[in-house]
C-alpha cells in the first residue's frame, strides 16, 4: 500500500481544523452579537446560563439541532434541502487559502484570492434557491432582492481587491501580506484607504449584514429567504453567515491591515486580533445604522462605490506604472 500523499493529508487536516473553528466561531459570535446588541440598547443581553450568559449559544444550538425539520407544501423537495447545504459547504473551502500566520495556511495556492472570490459567488445561489424553492412570497421577494444586491456589490468589491493586488503584484494572499511591514504605517491601508472603505462597505452588502440586510429584513419580509426553514436548515444559513463574515474580515486583514504582521505578539495572534476587531466593527454597524431602503442601496452602489472604485483602480494602475519607470 502506498503512503498517503503529504499534500492530501495537509488539506484534510486543514479542513478538519476549519470545520471545528467554524462551529466555535458561530457559538462565540452569537454570544458577542447578543451581548453587544443588549448593551447598545441599554439592556444586559443574555446573562442566565453560565457566567455572563456565555453558555447561552450552546443551549440555542442544542435547541436548533433538536427541532423538527419542516417543508412547506408545494415546495420543491430537492432544491429546498439543497439550498442550506449549498450555503454552508463552499464556506469551508473559503477558509483554506487564508494566511493565518507565516506559512500557516491550509492550502497554499498562488490564486488564493481568486479562489475566495469565485466560491463566495455560490452563496448568492443558495439564497436564490432557498427563496425560490420555499414556495413562499416572502422567500421569493427576499431572493429577488438578494440578486440585485449581490450582483451589484460584487463589482466594487472586486475592483477594490484588484487595486491592492496591482500594488502587491500577486493574487496570493500570503504574498500580499509579505509585501507589508510590522507597523501600521507599513500596511496597505495607508496607500489604499479608499479601497479599504469601498471593500468594507461592499463586504457588508455581500454578506447581507445590516444595514444592507434587505434579503432577510425581519420587519418587512418576516425572515426573507429563510422564512420557511426550521431547525438546522435555518442553522446552516446562520452558521454560513457568520463564517462568511469571518472570511470577509480575514481577507480585509490580509489585504489592508498587514495580516500576521505586528510588534511583540506572535503572528497568528495578531491575525486573530485584527479579524476580531473588524468583526466587532461589523456588529457595531448592525446595531447603529438603520436598514437602508432598496433604492438607497442601489444608489450607494451604482452612484458612489462603483465610480470611486474605478477611479481608484485607474489611479493605482497609473502610479504602479509610474513607479516601474522611476
Amino acid at each position: 500500500m502506498s503512503a498517503i500523499p503529504a499534500e492530501l493529508l495537509h488539506i484534510i487536516i486543514g479542513l478538519v481544523a476549519v470545520a471545528a473553528s467554524v462551529g466555535l466561531i458561530g457559538l462565540v459570535m452569537v454570544w458577542v452579537e447578543r451581548k453587544v446588541a443588549g448593551h447598545i440598547q441599554r439592556r444586559p443581553g443574555p446573562y442566565e446560563v453560565g457566567p455572563s450568559g456565555v453558555l447561552q449559544p450552546l443551549c440555542d444550538a442544542l435547541k436548533l439541532v433538536g427541532k423538527q425539520l419542516f417543508m412547506p407544501t408545494g415546495a420543491d423537495p430537492i432544491l429546498f434541502w439543497l439550498a442550506p447545504v449549498l450555503a454552508f459547504l463552499p464556506v469551508l473551502l473559503l477558509f483554506l487559502p487564508l494566511p493565518v500566520g507565516d506559512g500557516l495556511m491550509a492550502l497554499d495556492v498562488n490564486l488564493g484570492l481568486l479562489l475566495i472570490l469565485a466560491f463566495s459567488g455560490l452563496a448568492v445561489l443558495s439564497v436564490l434557491l432557498a427563496g425560490w424553492a420555499s414556495n413562499n412570497k416572502y422567500g421569493l421577494l427576499g431572493a429577488a432582492r438578494a440578486v440585485a444586491q449581490s450582483v451589484a456589490y460584487e463589482i466594487p468589491l472586486l475592483l477594490s481587491v484588484l487595486a491592492v493586488s496591482f500594488v502587491a503584484g500577486s493574487l496570493d494572499l500570503a504574498q500580499v501580506v509579505k509585501g507589508q511591514g510590522t507597523w501600521p504605517w507599513n500596511w496597505n491601508i495607508m496607500t489604499q484607504p479608499l479601497a479599504f472603505i469601498i471593500y468594507f462597505v461592499s463586504a457588508l452588502g455581500e454578506t447581507n449584514r445590516a444595514p444592507f440586510d434587505l434579503p432577510e429584513a425581519e420587519s418587512e419580509l418576516t425572515a426573507g429567504f429563510h422564512t420557511e426553514y426550521s431547525g438546522m436548515g435555518f442553522g446552516m444559513f446562520f452558521l454560513a453567515e457568520y463564517a462568511n463574515m469571518v472570511v470577509v474580515c480575514s481577507v480585509a486583514t490580509a489585504l489592508f491591515l498587514g495580516g500576521w504582521h505586528g510588534p511583540v505578539l506572535p503572528g497568528p495572534l495578531w491575525f486573530v486580533l485584527k479579524v476580531s476587531a473588524l468583526m466587532l466593527l461589523m456588529v457595531f454597524a448592525r446595531w447603529t445604522y438603520p436598514r437602508v431602503r432598496f433604492d438607497q442601496l442601489l444608489v450607494i452602489n451604482w452612484k458612489w462605490l462603483l465610480p470611486l472604485a474605478v477611479a481608484n483602480l485607474l489611479l493605482t494602475a497609473f502610479f504602479v506604472k509610474l513607479a516601474q519607470f522611476a
Partner: protein
C-alpha cells in the same frame, strides 16, 4: 497518482453528463438551471485536472457566480412555475431533431478522436497568469477580440428579441 487522476476524470465526466441531462430534461426551469450549474462546475473541475487553475476559477466566478445568477433573475421575472407551458414535453419531431444534432456533432468529434489519437503530453504544467495575460494581449490578441465580438452579437440578439416583442403588443 495516475489512477487517482483517472478516477477524478470519471467523476467530473459523470457530473457533467448528469448535469447536462438534467439541464435539458428537467420539467422545472429552476431545476434545469441547477443542472446547468452542476455541468459548469464539472467543467471547472476538468480545467483543474488540466492544471489550468486560473481558467477553472474564472469559470466558476463568471459562469456560476454571474451568468447563472442572471439567468435565475430572468426565470424569476417570467414567473415560469412548474405547471407552466415549458413543463410539457416537447413533440416527437423536436426530440428527433435534437437527437440528430447531438449524434452528428458527437459522432464527428468522437470519430476524429478515435481515428487520430494524440500522444499524451504527460503532466500539464501550470502557466503563470502574468504570461497568460501577456499572451492574450500579444500573440493571441486577435482571437481575444473575436471572442468579444461573439459576446456583442449575443447582446445585440437579445436586444433585438426584446424589441420585436414590444412591437408586437
Amino acid at each position: 497518482m495516475e489512477n487517482l487522476a483517472k478516477f477524478v476524470f470519471g467523476f467530473y465526466a459523470l457530473i457533467i453528463l448528469s448535469g447536462s441531462i438534467l439541464a435539458v430534461g428537467a420539467k422545472s426551469l429552476v431545476r434545469a438551471m441547477v443542472g446547468l450549474i452542476a455541468t459548469l462546475l464539472g467543467v471547472a473541475g476538468m480545467y483543474m485536472l488540466l492544471n489550468a487553475q486560473f481558467l477553472a476559477l474564472m469559470q466558476i466566478l463568471i459562469y456560476v457566480g454571474a451568468v447563472c445568477v442572471l439567468i435565475f433573475f430572468a426565470i424569476m421575472l417570467t414567473r415560469a412555475d412548474a405547471g407552466g407551458e415549458e413543463a410539457e414535453s416537447a413533440p416527437l419531431r423536436q426530440n428527433l431533431l435534437a437527437l440528430t444534432a447531438v449524434l452528428s456533432v458527437g459522432g464527428i468529434l468522437g470519430w476524429l478522436v478515435m481515428t487520430r489519437p494524440q500522444a499524451t503530453t504527460g503532466v500539464p504544467t501550470e502557466v503563470p497568469i502574468e504570461q497568460m495575460g501577456l499572451g492574450l494581449l500579444g500573440p493571441y490578441g486577435l482571437a481575444f477580440e473575436l471572442i468579444s465580438v461573439v459576446l456583442l452579437v449575443s447582446m445585440a440578439g437579445a436586444v433585438l428579441l426584446a424589441w420585436e416583442r414590444r412591437n408586437g403588443k
